[in-house]
């Protein structure tokens, strides 16, 4: 295709992806409130719209029209930059995530992915690792002890868990031999023993890696049980104590966007991406994989919420000990085993 069409298509895809993502973020919040509510025997949001379905919209409006106050004594440039960094990093990583097979519109054959780079996974890792800055700077720049402690905790926790996160992915990479997410997904097509889907979690024996990834992901996204950085009971709201209105919303969005991203990555790497039962007319054949994929992500998000609703919070030293003394060795062991397996298969 020509450069102009390429640009047009990319632009369209980007806008689409962003729209979908932000909507998803908004409704993830709704979903969480709903689910946790039911878990705690309450209704959750019900007033705005049926089942409170318009609640996220109301929240958005609220954020928009709230007074955007900046406390004194904050280090302004970074105070402003921090949430932007956070949300940018969160949104960027969506760019390399494939959501489905190729679709053919007229003459041109488009991948359901903003861009397919052969080091996609690395980019995701890099971007998420950059996400730390948002948190850290927010905590530091807003010049309050709660924020600082939150920021410190957050950055330390993220750095620590990033290692085991990355290591847990390496197993899959070794099985596939590529960084391209699309290749990874394609490698998981089909079944073995006739009925078991050829997903890495099954076929590659990566379920340990999968759980390591899951826990690390919780930590990465500062979710319960690892939400030390914003532990309400200890330090009011952690790194975004001093934030309000749109800036706070940005952190909010960033967190949920990250949740979605890690969920997407998990399903891509371990659960065979969009593979699933495909049937019907071409348009349906094109969209069903997307459906399966979204289903998986939804499942993940549900687990997130479920965990939040059930598990208590770690203590900080426990958190670190867990990360360094349990997850990391486990990931390395898994790595070694996988390497042996790969070597034997080859």
């Amino acid at each position: 295709m020509t450069i102009t069409t390429f640009i047009i298509v990319s632009f369209v895809k980007t806008v689409l992806a962003l729209f979908v993502l932000l909507t998803a973020v908004a409704y993830t919040v709704w979903l969480e409130r709903k689910v946790v509510g039911h878990m705690q025997n309450r209704w959750g949001p019900t007033r705005v719209g049926p089942f409170g379905l318009l609640q996220p919209l109301a929240d958005g409006v609220k954020f928009l029209f709230k007074e955007d106050l900046t406390p004194p004594h904050v280090y302004k440039p970074l105070y402003i930059a921090a949430p932007i960094i956070a949300v940018m990093c969160a949104l960027t990583s969506i760019a390399v995530i494939p959501v489905g097979n190729w679709v053919t519109i007229g003459s041109l054959n488009i991948p359901l992915q903003i861009t397919d780079v052969n080091i996609g996974l690395l980019i995701i890792l890099g971007v998420t690792s950059l996400g730390v800055y948002g948190v850290a700077l927010a905590g530091w720049s807003s010049n309050s002890k709660y924020s600082l402690l939150g920021g410190l905790r957050a950055s330390a926790q993220m750095i620590s868990y990033e290692i085991s996160l990355g290591l847990s992915l390496v197993g899959v990479l070794m099985l596939t031999g590529s960084f391209s997410l699309r290749d990874i997904v394609d490698a998981q097509s089909g079944t073995f023993w006739g009925f078991v889907p050829r997903w890495n979690i099954f076929y590659g024996g990566q379920f340990i890696a999968f759980f390591i990834y899951l826990m690390s992901a919780y930590a990465e996204t500062n979710r319960i049980p690892f939400d030390l950085p914003e532990a309400e009971t200890e330090l009011v709201a952690g790194y975004h104590t001093e934030y309000s209105a749109m800036k706070f919303a940005m952190f909010f969005m960033a967190e949920y966007a990250n949740m979605i991203t890690v969920a997407a990555v998990a399903s891509l790497l371990f659960l065979g991406g969009w593979h699933g039962w495909v049937f019907g007319p071409p348009i349906l054949r094109a969209l069903l994989p997307v459906f399966w994929f979204v289903l998986r992500i939804f499942g993940f998000l549900f687990v997130y919420i479920w965990v939040r609703g059930t598990l208590p919070r770690f203590r900080y030293d426990q958190l670190m000990a867990f990360g360094w003394k349990f997850l990391l060795p486990l990931a390395i062991a898994n790595l070694v085993v996988t390497a042996l397996v790969v070597a034997l298969r080859a």
Binding site: P77, L78, V117, N118, I119, L122, I123, L125, G126, V127, S129, L130, V132, Y133, A136, L137, G139, W140, L148, G151, L152, S155, A156, M158, I159, E162, G177, F179
Partner: protein, 172 residues
């Protein structure tokens, strides 16, 4: 053409970040500008085709090392650096020496490398090939560096561990 434009843009970003690192008084600003430098350097690497290097640059440098810096800055709550009366040597000899050296080097570089130019992605450093090289031709250095890292970790632990928190070890 676009190639040159991209190069110039990110090159300018690089230089701007570097200069900003110098002029900023507050270490955290310097750190962030350094992050900018690294990010745009990653793009330059991409232009040269070293995609894996670029990724690692972002992950390791921007994502780990610089985070470490920021973390330490926050930990020590480093404020504006006060303009103490430093040594005159640094200004009398260091700066001129630096200028002379860089001018000479620049001249030599222009002289020797001539006007040979590279296309975008001239030398694709795909992860596969890099890995192959790393684990065949450069296996020994690789292992040695791993040991180096191990030792560095232990040293860091020893140094940073609180003097009274550890028994028997010498205060570092």
């Amino acid at each position: 053409m676009t190639h040159l434009i991209i190069f110039l843009f990110f090159g300018a970003l690089c230089v701007a970040g570097a200069v900003n690192l110098l002029v900023q008084r507050h270490p955290i600003n310097s750190a962030l500008s350094l992050v900018v430098v690294m990010g745009s350097l990653a793009v330059e690497y991409l232009l040269l085709g070293a995609e894996f290097v670029a990724a690692v640059q972002v992950i390791v440098y921007a994502g780990a090392i610089m985070v470490l810096f920021v973390f330490v800055i926050m930990l020590l709550n480093a404020g504006e650096e006060e303009q103490t009366k430093g040594s005159r040597v640094a200004l009398l000899f260091g700066i001129p020496g630096m200028l002379v050296g860089s001018v000479l080097v620049g001249w030599v570089l222009i002289e020797r490398t001539g006007s040979q130019s590279v296309a975008a992605g001239a030398l694709p450093g795909a992860p596969r090939t890099i890995g192959w090289l790393l684990f065949h031709n450069f296996l020994l250095p690789f292992e040695v560096t791993s040991i180096l890292v191990l030792i560095a970790i232990m040293g860091a632990v020893v140094l940073a561990s609180h003097p009274d928190s550890d028994q028997g070890r010498k205060e570092s």
